[in-house]
Amino acid sequence: MSKRNERRQQIDRLFELLDRFDSDATVVTSVRQPAAMREALKVAVALGLDPTLNDAAVAALRQRLEGFAQRLALDAHYANHPGVRPSLGERALAAARLDDDPLADDPELVARAADAVARLRPGASADDVLLYAAALAEARSA
């Protein structure tokens, strides 16, 4: 089997398993972790983070796994459909609209910020752009 097919099968398997999270049996496992982390979790649970230590650990791992799997799915989608990957500027404008950020009303400024941030920091996020754009807006109004 080619490495590409093997990877595709692994991704399929990952999504199959994620789909079973809410219905599957649970297993007891041990995780080596910093002692301070365990204590911090206890304190955070007492402060209301989650009902139990177990809930907190499972929720964090679940979020990480689902985000990772979604990233793989999005990258596979872009490989199959070249041209649909949103640019950094488009992502930044989407972030502004999601947040009801006043920057959403100034798409030209967001686009300019995206160009600058892309040059300064390869792999920048939409929120990096919004921070830069907010600074530009602040400087403009000063």
Binding site: F15, A60, Q63, R64, E66, G67, F68, A69, Q70, R71, A73, L74, H77, H81, G83, V84, R85, P86, E90, R91, L93, A94, A95, A96, R97, L98, D99, D100, D101, P102, S125, A126, D127
Partner: protein, 146 residues
């Protein structure tokens, strides 16, 4: 002055689902930009979810079991928001309060009112109807246009 309110939950309306489902849809790339933002934030361990009210899934013909839905299931990363008895009662109430809104719009507004973590942003192309519904919700929502 308007304050930014990053959402804890993004609620998909039917138009957003339609756009995400079809790579040839004129707004596909635009809808993906929103999904990318949620993925970036998840990767930074920020608590953010995407939900699809079950009424939206019906309207958009999104059957999660269908092989054609495999891509959408994976890229949207959306969990279902169920229309149970309590949710149906509230959606019916909202539909009665705002003449002319669809059943699905009322179900989406109901979801935005209760989803956790809050606050909620609705991803839609129908700003007008959701603007009218928002006035009757128990908490403030953001409406993002695709």
């Amino acid at each position: 002055m308007r304050q930014k309110r990053p959402p804890g939950t993004v609620v998909l309306d039917s138009e957003a689902v339609d756009a995400l489902a079809d790579p040839r849809h004129p707004k596909h790339r635009h809808a993906l930009a929103y999904i990318e933002v949620t993925n970036e934030r998840r990767a930074r361990n920020e608590r953010i979810r995407v939900v699809a009210p079950t009424a939206v899934r019906v309207e958009a013909r999104w059957d999660r079991r269908a092989p054609t839905a495999a891509d959408l299931n994976r890229i949207a990363g959306a969990r279902d928001h169920l229309l149970d008895t309590g949710a149906a009662n509230r959606a019916a109430e909202l539909a009665g309060l705002v003449p002319g809104v669809s059943v699905v719009d009322a179900a989406v507004a109901q979801a935005a009112e209760v989803v956790e973590p809050g606050p909620a942003t609705i991803l839609t192309s129908d700003e007008e109807d959701f603007g009218r519904l928002a006035a009757h919700l128990h908490r403030a929502i953001v409406i993002a246009r695709i």
